[in-house]
Amino acid sequence: MSSQLGNVVFIIWRESVEALLVIGILSAWLTHQGAGVGRAKAYLWSGVGAGLVVAVLLGWALVTLGDTLPEETQQAYQATVVLVAAALIVQMVIWMRRHGRTLKRELETSLSEAAAQSSWWGVFVLALIAVAREGSETAIFLYGTLSAGSGSGLLALIGAAAVGFALALATYGLLQLGGRVLSWRVFFRVTEVMLLFLAAALLMTGIGILIDLELLPALTGKLWDTSWLLSDGGTVGGMVSALTGYRARPVGIEVIAFVGYWVVVLWLLSTPRSITATARPTA
């Protein structure tokens, strides 16, 4: 029984953390911009709220509709969601890099208010996708686990679920704290790298589904096997792979996608636009 409770804590924490990583980093970033981003935070939290609603609806649909939707349609939906989220994260990071340091001043001088306004929609969509994706699984898991429990077991299960979510909130709090304790530059670098790896992981998930749908060729069999070092079939390796895109036995197209992703991202990050490059303070 106790191992089951441990599972509940761990699964709720894990499902929440992936969504909270995105939300926490965006929120800390917005906080750092200071004045003028109150509305941006409203977009962020509206996205979270909408994501929760969509998560419950998705969970309900998955349980009740089950197999009435063809497998290919479900996969196409999953692939689209993860690829859109990956693209949004990359775009967000690049946009942060180009505007982050000057955003407050630009907002004060109303230079980029229109651009910022429309960018908040990206914040909204990203929060919605992150919460809906992880939340729908959590909803199914919780619904099923709680409905199977009974008597004192039920209370214990609810308690375990609450502990898992509290741990996730603590993780979120650490992120917020990081933004205050660490220098902005360090915090920015760390979270930027985390987000880019998360986007890589989403891209790899999307590529995997597209291979499965035979919309992309695998190109080769497995190129190498590092599952002796870190298997992506286990709990720890599974989390590493969900947060970084790691594959123990990659096929050709996966290696090309992973390497290509980092080449494109690093290239985009290394070529800031000249206006912001000159306007950026050196300190």
Binding site: Q4, G6, T73, G144, A148
Partner: protein, 120 residues
């Protein structure tokens, strides 16, 4: 370039709809002559723990959840992830596995040891 502008979002959504339509139009239903292998989930117990399947050919996995809690078939190696509600039978088609061993597990019951799909 404005991030996530309404134009971008609508383009992404249009892409989603197009992709869904393409897949729906080209999707091939599971063929009747695909060999079928059955895996049963029961509140953290997977049966069998080791399943021999043919390599380099299409086959169908029938996933049955006979327990009272939801299960999630998950395998990064197989690139598959599927939630199975209690009392539900679902299936997935697997195409062209290289010979080798593939771990899968019930992601909602982590204290269960992973099970193995062996493609020969």
């Amino acid at each position: 370039m404005a991030l996530g502008s309404p134009a971008l979002v609508s383009r992404l959504l249009a892409g989603f709809v197009a992709a869904t339509l393409v897949v729906a139009a080209t999707s091939v239903p599971a063929r009747a002559d695909d060999p079928v292998f059955r895996i049963e989930f029961s509140d953290g117990k997977m049966t069998p723990q080791r399943l021999d399947v043919p390599a380099n050919t299409r086959f169908k996995l029938e996933l049955v959840n006979s327990g009272t809690t939801p299960a999630e078939f998950e395998s990064v190696e197989l690139r598959k992830e599927k939630v199975i509600a209690p009392g539900v039978t679902t299936s997935m088609v697997i195409k062209n596995l290289d010979p080798g061993e593939y771990h899968f597990f019930d992601d909602f019951h982590l204290d269960t040891p992973p099970a193995l799909l062996v493609a020969k």
